[in-house]
Amino acid sequence: WDEPVIFELHRPGERGVVPPGTDAGIAAEVGAASGWVPSAMRRSEAPKLPEIGQAKVLRHYLRLSQETLGSDFNVEIGQGTCTMKYIPRINEMLIRTPNMMELHPLQDVDTVQGMLEVFHKLDLAMREISGMDAFSFQPSSGTQALLAMASIVRAYHDSRGEGEQRDEIITTIFSHPSQAATAAVKGYKIITLHPDEDGFPDLEKLKQAISPRTAGFVVANPEDTGIYNHRIKEFTDVVHAAGGVCFYDQANANGLLGITRAKEAGFDMCFFNLHKTFAAPHMCGGPATGALGVTEQFRRFLPGPLVEYDGNRYTLSEQPEESIGKVRSFHGVAQTVLRAYAWIMALGADGLKDVARIAVLNNNYLYHKILQIRGASAPYIKGRRLEQVRYSWKQLTDETGVTTEDITRRMCDFGLHYWTSHHPYIVPQPFTLEPTESYSKEDLDEYIHALEHISEEAYTNPNIVKTAPHNSTVHRNDESSLDDPKLWCITWRAYLKKAKAD
């Protein structure tokens, strides 16, 4: 499809849908709103929305949907650290009922007992999976869960009168950038630890970093390199000894379910992405859920309300004054809470452990095969990777000039995603693959084969890689305007003013 921008479909007089109107009896009773709305507040000029018949609107968006590569359509292992696993279709069907979609979040608790039961039972399951003592599902992404955890760190130290003194949070460079960013949002100074030469977080550096100013320590484990820090309990002990709080980014937990838990590693708090790890879909980037678990000591700081069960009836209980309050309206993304609950129920304890096993098996198979591709490597320690690996094309780039960005575009031609990883590029020419448990050996082989093919192209005909994509919906973008305030066009109206005016 060569689909125009929706505004170009505008034809005066057409309509997509007729909204409900005013009953004649009501109109007779109250008259037109112009009779009572202050004139300054009546819209003076109609919004320049397009007018389009229903069939054309539907056709437009359906075509654009086909131009979007959902994980349902490909071997989605190239968005590493993001755990794109199989989204069970049954779960999507389960949420499409008025008993879920048409609930108002302020309904009387007696009218939402089923919904609250789902929240509570998921809470119980997450406690068992993590060892924590209470969960909130209000945070609606990993980032928001990290923010909530940083907020709890602050509330905790405030409650002890150390809020001013403890103004530093320690993290590691291979943890997700959001860990540093959200702590900074809460006013913390960030100390970032770089790894030792094997890629492990460096305990000595941590010991140097801690001080009476240490508010907390936040880390992923395994980190985005896929390397599991086996000395993690020593890290948390060191931080605790210094009076800091340890909080755990469990975005990379897919290889750990049923194997090891936050509690035993000494964490005070953790979160899981229910989208991703618990098979709720990513929906182009949310809404999502960062399930936030804490030990008993930190329960009073959780955002409220929390669901409670007295053995007979589910209720919503408000949190005390010292809680961080709220981080998202109402109760979070209830549909995704339901999806995660359904996923756990479909797997049981054995199934969850199989998830962890196969995710690690698949990753190590992939790791083994990728290292055989010419030009590819995986910096740091050999082996010991759990569910993902951050690889490098440094050699390929040095030898052929083809970069990891070139490969990104070329992978589109194979109908596959491939992602170059976050800044900062510590690993040169990086790419990160996370195969999860959802893909079969043949699926992995297909992906590996595409990379092999591109590596071979790089060595024999690099231009085909450098000029990709060749087979995509659109051709290569001219991105020169995107960083130029005079040229960028963030909306159609801006485009009409700026680009079209030329």
Partner: protein, 466 residues
């Protein structure tokens, strides 16, 4: 799961024993346990988790359907709850599109293989931009409260000042969120509202803004309590006069009929997309947006992604990409603008579909319809003995405060009896605004027919007279 446990789990193909063995062989391992050797034994759980047994698909469906059947929902009952989550008409095409497998399971692809995702989100930005009459709109954030928080922090960064002013009529729950987001960087201070009109008390605003350290004046239209704040130009002028930024939160569904904040001086507009095609989903439909003028100073302070339209190698073809990506925390970690991550993209796409369907006339008619129906409802309720409107003289959009103090009944009591009649009464305000006694916030939208409203009035009359 009964007896059917042989073979692979449907979700995990490589649980086939032969495949596992072959893969282990290939990588030189002997048992699957070795894969977790990196984890010390002392940290391992070493016992089965205590979870219910796995269910097959049919058992799962029956189990979950059974749980959800315990709920009573707002389509089978008559609902007058709003207060930040509203029941509106949702065109079928909104659901068709946001249930498309492609959009449900997409994530963070590049502008090539995910061209459709980039284009739909760019279109959403552009459509909301027309509604709010601004040139820049972001990829959606979490919800109105978070969008407001970010708007306030953007104002703080732009002005270099530490305080924000808000009217006391802002939703107490929203204040909790804003406070958490702003602490410790920005301080919130509250401006009185006029006791008769419920609108902002300009005298108090003048007093408070005089402190000189105010980065932002934040107000809403319609406000949490439903009123239309018609003093917007004055408020913005006061803010600007003190070097502060005017931030306005809006319910976008009002903007077919009401003037957009840019016309009364807003520098930043924010609000919630949920009314534009999202089911309530027990609160899971909320989605925030932020809009500004196309001013580099403002654009560079957005934490969110901003999709821009670009040319491609082929003449006449459109491509899309990230504008000023280097400002984000993806790029700069703690040096980026706040933080960015997964937020509510699917609802942005849906809001775009909604606005494409409604068009300018649909939005205008809808606004008019809502105001007529809510006014009708308010009149009917106020005619019940002992029931009155708290800010009855002020124009409102879809919500209004009903005062039950003269009935001698609590809102809780009234709502319990309404529920018996299949009606979800308005939100009880007695806890959030104890000074007003027994008041409730009623929400009436285009989905209510005259018969529905008459039924509410009749039911309330019975309760009140009893």
């Amino acid at each position: 799961m009964s007896e059917n446990k042989a073979f692979a789990h449907p979700y995990i193909p490589n649980t086939v024993p032969e495949v596992q063995a072959a893969m282990l062989r290939e990588i030189g391992l002997e048992s699957i346990e070795q894969l977790h050797d990196a984890i010390p034994a002392t940290l391992k759980l070493n016992r089965p988790m205590n979870l219910p047994p796995a269910m097959n698909e049919y058992e799962l469906r029956r189990h979950v359907d059974g749980l959800l059947a315990k709920n009573k929902h707002a389509s089978a009952n008559l609902n007058f709850l709003g207060a930040g989550c509203w029941q509106h008409f949702i065109p079928a095409i909104c659901d068709e599109i946001n249930q498309r497998s492609e959009f449900v399971t997409a994530y963070a692809g590049e502008p090539y293989e995910d061209h459709g995702r980039f284009q739909t989100l760019f279109e959403y930005q552009s459509l909301v931009a027309e509604l709010v009459d601004m040139d820049v709109v972001n990829v959606p954030t979490f919800d109105w409260a978070q969008a407001a928080s970010t708007a306030i922090r953007m104002a703080g960064r732009i002005t270099g000042k530490p305080a924000a002013l808000l009217p006391k009529s802002v939703d107490p729950d929203k204040v909790k969120i804003i406070r958490n987001y702003c602490t410790p960087v920005m301080e919130l201070r509250f401006v009185d509202i006029d006791t008769a009109t419920g609108l902002m008390n300009l005298d108090d605003l003048r007093d408070k803004i005089a402190a000189g350290d105010v980065a932002a004046v934040y107000f809403e239209n319609p406000g949490y309590l439903g009123m239309i704040e018609h003093q917007g130009s004055d408020i913005s002028a006061l803010a600007h006069g003190a070097g502060a930024i005017s931030v306005v939160g809006v319910d976008p569904i009002s903007l077919g009929a009401l003037e957009p904040p840019s016309r009364y001086g807003a520098d930043i507009v924010c609000g919630d997309l949920q009314p534009l095609g999202m089911h309530m989903n027990y609160g899971g439909g909320q989605s925030g947006f932020i809009a500004t003028h196309d001013d580099e100073t403002f654009v560079m302070e957005y934490p969110s992604r901003l999709f821009g339209i670009v040319p491609t190698e082929v003449e006449g073809e459109y491509g899309f990409g990230d504008v000023a990506y280097e400002r984000t925390s993806f790029a700069l970690r703690e040096k980026g603008k706040e933080s960015v991550g997964t937020q509510t993209a699917l609802w942005g796409i849906t809001a775009g579909v909604y606005l494409s369907l409604l068009g300018p006339h649909g939005m205008s008619e809808l606004g008019e319809t809502i105001m007529q129906k809510s006014r009708y409802a308010a009149k009917k309720l106020a005619a019940i003995p002992g029931v009155s409107l708290r800010f009855g003289e002020t124009a409102f959009f879809k919500e209004f405060v009903v005062d039950f103090n003269a009935t001698g009944l609590t809102v809780a009591n009234i709502n319990r009896r309404l529920l018996d009649a299949g009606i979800f009464g308005g939100k009880d305000l007695s806890e959030g605004y104890p000074e007003w006694g027994q008041c409730a916030l009623y929400c009436v939208t285009e989905i209510h027919s005259q018969a529905d409203l008459d039924r509410l009035a009749a039911a309330l009359e019975v309760i009140v007279r009893a």
